[in-house]
């Protein structure tokens, strides 16, 4: 039993205990779940402290047999990528609990308990090294999020919740088929062992086999990312979810998809990944531009931020499928950045909704005069989101664009358009909401941030600055692990001139 096991176990035990607290004790449930999630967060920091940056491979490993036949292991560990994603999950959970403190009135016991269950699933997904275990955690995440959206969401919550569930479930059953298929070939679910067998030629996959297996995993992950054109569940889910749900969805859950691509798809099926990279990259770039353009015309703040997620996640996919060290580093860094800054955006939009009870941009205006602190915080987050230097997103986007340029210059040209567009829609949003005439409703219903709001937002703002100013805290371990992924994918040389974009010709650098 090491530190990682405890970080995984705390939310699970907390979930069960929270359900046992009598319904009337609302305050006790809130306090208990907050304490659990904070404990998990503090302990997960211990993972970062104890992590040996120089070493590659997993650390904090526990590997015990769970089910004897077929042999399924409880095999967990962290490496340079999953470490930070686990900490992201444990950081966002207490924030999600805190920001729902007063805004959830009915069935609050279930709400806070489900947030812990969600945390359990998320940490487990990022820690699992056994494919079967990974699938188990992957599905566990689905249930609490479905209920969070469906029970505590807004008007069209049921439609959004069911759509979310069916989309993700349909993708993941294909992944299950692929996992079982791999098991029948390799005789094990252990990811590292399967990878060894594939790399050593112990398992030889025919071209068709590899392509189908790759696609089965890829579609499951692409739905989660979400990659254009599989993104349609995302705006619905985000808009209808309660604030805590949106924050967890944007900050952590979308990363399950990109993490899966990086962790499983690319190393296990390098040939298929390389072969399919051109159209995947095109889809990613379409997502970047399309997400940004659609975000620009949204009348609804949450929907705007949701579409900006589609755009930002496109960068991550682009980085991964550029198969360059810089691209991969940027992709992982951008996962964390997006978690922090988009999480903060949803949080702030949630604050405004709690006050004014509207998500329509036209219902706001001149907020800066009545809530100056809220405006300041929102501005910092906006700037971070559009990639202003010294704030976090700049580093990630820069690395991705540079990596993409190494692979194919045209890609980065088109992707860079997304950066410009993001400045357009975010700044325009800021202008319409915070400047201009202050209406009576806004004047009366927009108190500035209170202590609890500050507690939620300060850690995120601090991280935006830290990650923008001193990325090496995070990047050193990420880079080391990315190098391993790159080497596993046999792709030490970048892809050159493999694709010609419409009108752009082929630009090999």
């Amino acid at each position: 039993m090491n530190l990682l096991d405890i970080v995984i176990a705390i939310p699970a035990i907390g979930f069960i205990l929270a359900l046992l607290i009598p319904r009337a004790q609302e305050q006790a449930v809130r306090m208990f779940t907050l304490v659990c999630s904070l404990a998990a967060f503090v302990l997960s920091l211990g993972l970062a402290i104890g992590y040996q940056t120089g070493q590659t491979g997993q650390q904090f490993v526990t590997n015990v047999v769970w089910i004897a036949n077929p042999e399924i292991h409880y095999h967990v560990g962290v490496d340079g990528i999953s470490l930070w994603l686990i900490i992201l999950s444990t950081l966002l959970t207490p924030i999600a609990i805190l920001l729902s403190w007063r805004s959830i009135h009915q069935q609050s016991k279930e709400f806070f308990a489900l947030l812990l269950l969600l945390e359990f699933g998320l940490v487990g997904v990022f820690a699992a090294w056994d494919l079967f275990l990974f699938y188990v955690f992957w599905e566990i995440v689905l249930v609490p999020m479905y209920l969070l959206i469906g029970i505590w969401g807004h008007d069209r919550r049921i439609y959004a919740a069911v759509k979310f569930f069916i989309f993700t479930f349909a993708g993941s059953v294909l992944m299950l088929a692929a996992i079982i298929y791999l098991y029948n070939l390799a005789g094990t679910f252990d990811y590292a062992l399967i990878l060894d067998q594939i790399r050593s030629g112990h398992i030889t996959l025919s071209h068709t086999q590899e392509t189908f297996l790759f696609l089965a995993f890829f579609i499951a992950f692409a739905i989660k990312v979400p990659l254009f054109p599989l993104h349609t569940w995302l705006p619905d889910a985000h808009v209808e979810a309660p604030t805590a749900g949106s924050v967890m969805l944007a900050s952590v859950m979308l990363k399950m998809g990109t993490y899966g691509l990086l962790r499983f798809c690319v190393p296990m099926f390098p040939g298929a990944a390389r072969e399919n990279a051109p159209w995947i990259v095109i889809l990613a770039i379409i997502g970047i531009i399309y997400g940004a353009l659609v975000a620009m015309v949204q009348p609804n703040m949450k929907k705007l931020v949701a579409y900006s997620s589609v755009s930002h996640l496109g960068f991550v996919v682009l980085g991964i499928f550029s198969f360059t060290q810089l691209g991969l580093d940027g992709a992982v860094y951008q996962m964390l950045n997006h978690g922090i800054s988009t999480g903060a955006l949803f949080l702030l939009v949630g604050f405004m909704y709690d006050r004014r009870h509207s998500l329509a941009i036209s219902d706001y205006g001149g907020v800066a005069t009545v809530a100056p602190w809220l405006s300041t915080v929102f501005l910092i987050t906006t700037l971070a989101s559009i990639g202003l230097p010294t704030l976090n997103n700049f580093i990630g986007e820069f690395l991705v664009l540079q990596g993409a340029a190494q692979a194919n210059f045209t890609w980065s040209v088109f992707a860079a358009l997304g950066v410009i567009f993001s400045a357009c829609y975010m700044l325009w949003l800021y202008q319409r909401v915070f400047y201009g005439e202050t209406s009576e409703e806004v004047r009366h219903h927009m108190p500035d941030l209170n202590v609890r709001d500050w507690c939620c937002i300060v850690p995120l703002i601090a991280l935006m600055v830290w990650m923008g100013m001193y990325p090496n805290t995070f990047l050193l371990s990420v880079t080391a692990t990315d190098a391993t992924v790159l080497e596993q994918s046999n792709m030490t040389t970048p892809l050159r001139g493999a694709v010609s974009l419409p009108g752009g010709g082929t630009h090999a650098r």
């Binding site: 036949n69 009915q106 069935q107 279930e110 479905y146 469906g150 919550r157 069911v162 059953v173 088929a177």
Partner: protein, 486 residues
């Protein structure tokens, strides 16, 4: 060999579950005139004791496995697994019935006696090594179910259900019997192992054997409600009393699958390449018809009937794998399915009210708020029916599709898994209504769970989690017993 009409002690032990149930059933019929009015619950208690004694008998028989009664019966791990399964289903069915029979002011003595006879027939079926014995067991079980389906004789729907089931059921049994006759004509035997031996010699008419197998597929396919012989199931399940519907969908179905598998994996194993395509098609049709038809149902019992057809389809996928691993997956899935289906039906019986008037999906509205415990357990069963990890249903599906992939049934696996995504939609509707709608009249005026229903909810929930978190023990037993006598 001189004729010896006295059964040996071994024979009696191997036959003990059937003996116990038959004696108990007869006892109930004798007691009925005396206590029928005064102590209606007594019969339920006696039945539970009889089922428990039957389980002990089955375990005792397992200590000395082997043939019995001149090779008519066979007690092996496979038989013991299914005996314990159908006996446990019997216990849960009794627990489901207490409250229901109370509410409907129904007589209890005959009901429980029929239940005992029915399970006795199933125990006999699963331990038969002879087609005639299988037929007798099947008839004992079926005739009791025909009566049970129409048990509330003043209810029109009950009568419709019983009549439909009886007419179609006898028709299907005739096919089975016809198949038995043909195979007897070809091989000169009705014993499963002797048929196998005969078929491994040259010099028999292949066409006749294939016809016999096809006829048996019709007869048994009807009993397991596999498409295209599933037409009766929605009407019959909808019309029968709710505890009987769920009993029919679990107990007789498990027993029918058990003999289906035993016959085809023992006698007809050599011609498996001939019957595999039929099972393949039946599996795909059952899953697709069941799931897509369930999407539009609003009557809870009818919806669960279509879901039962779909689940029969999943089981047929493992059947089509025609391997021992596939047989083990069938065994595991039937156990998991019985638990989750009974649990879900316990809630339906809880809310349906006198005369089963509250059976619409909307009648579950707001249950999550008025009875959170009941709703939470129903959620567990629904997640298991969908196949979400940490529940028995997930491992059941996992083992099935693993066996199918091992036998290279890639397309069937992919289509089956996509089917289970379709199924998620209608199971989610339950949760939507329970948790995301305002409490309706039914949920607001619902009485608390009765003791019997509470037990029929909690026990399957424990079982579902047990099979979902520690499936090893059950699966190992299934794998060890899924080796047929050959």
């Amino acid at each position: 060999m001189p004729a010896n009409f006295m059964p040996s002690a071994d024979d009696l032990l191997r036959f003990s579950p059937e003996l116990i149930l038959t004696i108990a059933g007869t006892l109930l019929m004798v007691l009925d005139p005396f206590f029928g009015k005064r102590a209606p619950r007594l019969f339920g208690h006696i039945s539970i004791l009889a089922f428990l004694a039957g389980i002990l008998g089955a375990l005792g028989a397992q200590s000395g496995t082997g043939f019995s009664f001149s090779n008519l019966l066979i007690v092996d791990g496979y038989a013991t697994f299914f005996r314990i399964l159908v006996l446990s289903i019997g216990i849960l069915a009794v627990l489901l019935s207490y409250k229901y029979l109370d509410r409907e002011l129904a007589e209890t003595g005959e009901y429980h006696a029929l239940l005992l006879f029915c399970v006795a027939g199933q125990c006999l079926m699963v331990a038969s090594n002879d087609l005639i014995m299988i037929f007798i067991g099947l008839e004992i079980s079926s005739i009791a179910t025909y009566i049970l389906a129409g048990y509330l004789r003043n209810d029109k729907r009950n009568n419709e259900s019983a009549l439909k089931y009886f007419l179609l059921g006898s028709f299907a049994t005739a096919f089975l019997l016809y198949g038995i006759a043909v195979i007897y004509g070809v091989t000169g035997s009705t014993k499963l192992d002797e048929i196998r031996t005969a078929l491994s010699q040259p010099g028999f008419s292949m066409a006749a054997v294939v016809i016999a197998a096809a006829l048996m597929i019709v007869g048994l396919g009807f009993k397991v409600s596999g498409a295209p012989f599933q037409m009766w199931a929605p009407d019959v399940y909808q019309g029968a009393p709710a505890p009987v519907s769920v009993f029919m969908a679990t107990g007789p179905k498990a027993a029918a699958f058990a003999v289906f598998l035993r016959i085809f994996m023992t006698s007809f194993q050599q011609i498996s390449s001939d019957w595999e395509p039929l099972i393949w098609i039946s599996a795909l049709l059952s899953m697709t018809i069941g799931n897509f038809a369930a999407l539009t149902q609003n009557n809870l019992k009818r919806l669960m009937a279509y879901s039962a057809i779909a689940h029969a389809g999943y089981i047929l996928v493992a059947f089509a794998a025609k391997s021992d691993g596939g047989a083990a997956a069938v065994m595991f899935y039937l156990a998991a399915y019985a638990l989750m289906n009974i649990g879900a039906f316990a809630v339906i019986i809880h809310i349906c009210g006198k005369g089963e008037k509250n059976l619409r999906m909307e009648d579950l509205a707001g249950l999550g708020r008025t009875q959170p415990f009941t709703a939470a357990l129903l959620t567990v069963f629904l997640l298991s029916l969908i196949g979400v990890p940490l529940t028995g249903g997930f491992f059941g599906k996992f083992y099935i599709f693993r066996a199918a992939l091992q036998s290279n049934l890639v397309w069937l696996t992919v289509l089956g898994l996509l089917n289970s995504a379709v199924a998620a939609y209608y199971y989610l509707r339950f949760m939507v209504v329970m948790y995301m709608h305002e409490p309706g009249e039914v949920a607001n005026t619902l009485e608390p769970l009765s003791l019997g229903l509470r037990a029929a909810l909690v026990l399957p929930a424990i079982g579902t989690f047990f099979l979902g978190i520690l499936p090893g023990a059950v699966l190992n037993f299934a794998r060890a017993s899924a080796v047929f006598t050959r």
